[in-house]
Amino acid sequence: MSATLTEHDAAPRTPGPRPPKPDAPAARGPKKRKFPFAPWMLLAPSIILLVVMVVYPTILMFVTSFTDLEIKNKMLGTPANFVGFDNYVEVFTKSDFPAVLVRSLTLMVILTVLIVGGGMLLALLMLRLTKGWRLLVSVGLLLAWAMPPLSATVVFGWIFDTDYGVVNWLLNTITGTQDFRGHGWLADPLSFFMVLIIIVVWQGIPFAAFTLYAGLGQVPDEVLEASQLDGANAWQRFRLIVMPYLRNVVTAVIVLETIWNLRIFTQVYALQQQGGLASETNVLGTYLFRQGLGEFGVTAAIGVFMVILLMGISYYNVRSSLKEEEA
């Protein structure tokens, strides 16, 4: 709100105008510069860093994706040839990239639904708890949220261990048999993804739950009471009163979760190290990583596709953040 105030003339507190005010930020002594020197100096370090480390590689990757650059070009110092869309054609027709893409998108949908749905249920649960109980749940969720993803994956890998995992022991004890003795959870792609989903959801739900819970706090109680007096049942109150208030929060959470779940790398990679079949369980990130150094043109084409896909999804995020800025 006070974002557009100039420094010494704050009297007209109008949050609108973009064009620079005639009197530039003056310290002592008159400075009649047309060019806003001070702010750009402040921005310079960040701009240089981001241009060098983000903008430049993005352009470089885009260019590389149209060439046949390989590791031997780097070794010998020979220039690469321009090959047009060959890399893209190869990636989409002659590799298992399409399968990986479908797998990643499916996983993303499942994870996002489970995390946002579960987070919402937990947020509603926390709303109904008294203070002490709510603290208990909060502490648990915070611990899960704070665990470094790699540590969490290593622990879950051990919990689902083939020989000494507590899950196999538990299932044996419950069923009273030895059916699960030596049951390998990670070898089969389907149960590999089940374990993966458990890990990611376990870590992802706290963020969704806390955020939605904070959002629920913004729903005015009077409106809920009024609707209750008018005879709305719990589901109607949730759908017709709470949801409209929560829509922006829910959208923000869904968009962020979608992006994060499409970008997961650590959990998948570490679980593969513990016994998963990489070729059957790769997602976008690990697939790209496992292409390795070599055909830089092809990996650049995959990268360009990932950037476009993720940027497309984040469009909504950027737009809503800008709305916040303008508000």
């Binding site: 060098v52 480390m53 590689p57 704070a146 665990m147 990679y269 360009v304």
Partner: protein
């Protein structure tokens, strides 16, 4: 930690029991019945959230012969520190770093990222929040867009770049990569903090005789300290946990902690799970502690913006 509970929520919770108006009574009745169920669910949620963390710590204190056992031990009765000693002293794999060296690498990179990133973001957020100038809006949009560029999609391009600069397998190379990945978010967060300190305060100080610089350092800067701390912690956690680029760029004796743990747990010889759990615990510890400080701000920021918009 649950700082963002608005009064509305608390009202909805407690009063029913004490004020027995007709409507309230009916409502209380309906709410009270499943209280046991609700609390049971709460306990279940707590147990499910905590169990893996508990299991990690439990295993890290359990002697090896009890870890490799058909019946798991749910409490380290034969308490041992041996796993921690092993994790601390043994190299991850032949020819690779040991824990103390990896810890030093991780700390160096993370702390450098915190300091430089806080400085960069601080300057930039002042520019955005305190100056009106042509190009300000473009910069804000660019930061948001840049923040969304998935770094790991460019992993090999960045690998080549770092290689060309002769920074491969150096802490400086990893530092620059981490720095670029946290700066956009930090600018965005700090901008909110700077905008939250009214410019009036500075003006008042100037009227009282401070110079502009004094007004800033004595009035605004102290008010920004919490913002700097929480963005700094965010940057630290990001760098500390970062796995993909560290795995790609660092080798042998220069591994940071996440790739160290990865090597340690997938060592060719039979994995020493007690030591792996001890290593995991050591890596998780600082993050968990720091996390408690910033948690409220991270969700709070998102919500206040999203609800307003």
């Amino acid at each position: 930690m649950t700082t963002q509970i608005s009064p509305a929520v608390q009202l909805a919770e407690t009063p029913g029991r004490m004020t027995p108006g007709p409507q309230k009574a009916r409502r209380t009745h309906r709410r009270r019945a499943p209280k046991v169920v609700v609390n049971t669910v709460a306990i279940l949620v707590f147990l499910c959230s905590v169990f893996p963390v508990y299991w990690m710590v439990n295993m890290s204190f359990t002697p090896s012969n009890q870890i490799i056992s058909r019946t798991p031990s749910f409490f380290p009765f034969e308490f041992t520190m041996k796993n921690y000693v092993t994790a601390w002293t043994r190299e991850a794999a032949p020819g690779q770093t040991d824990f103390p060296h990896a810890l030093a690498s991780s700390l160096t990179v993370a702390l450098a990222v915190v300091v430089v990133c806080a400085l960069f973001a601080f300057l930039a957020s002042i520019a955005i929040a305190r100056f009106a100038f042509r190009g300000r809006y473009v910069f804000i949009v660019s930061v948001l867009v840049v923040q969304m560029v998935p770094g790991e999609a460019m992993m090999f391009t960045i690998y080549n770049m770092v290689d060309d600069w002769r920074l491969m397998n150096t802490l400086v190379g990893l530092f620059i990569v981490h720095l670029a990945s946290v700066v956009p978010f930090t600018i965005w967060t700090l901008r909110g903090f700077v905008a939250g300190v009214p410019a009036d305060l500075e003006e008042a100080a100037q009227i009282d005789g401070c110079t502009k610089a004094q007004a800033f350092w004595k009035v605004t800067f102290p008010l920004l300290a919490p913002g700097l701390v929480s963005t700094g912690i965010f940057a630290f956690i990001q760098s500390w946990n970062e796995f993909t680029m560290a795995l790609l760029l660092m080798k042998g004796y220069n591994l940071t902690l996440p790739p160290w743990l990865n090597s340690f747990q997938s060592a060719t010889e039979a994995t020493n799970w007690g030591a792996v759990m001890a290593g995991s615990t050591l890596i998780a510890l600082p993050v968990v502690i720091f996390f408690l400080f910033v948690q409220g701000r991270m969700t709070g920021g998102l919500v206040s913006g999203a609800v307003k918009g």
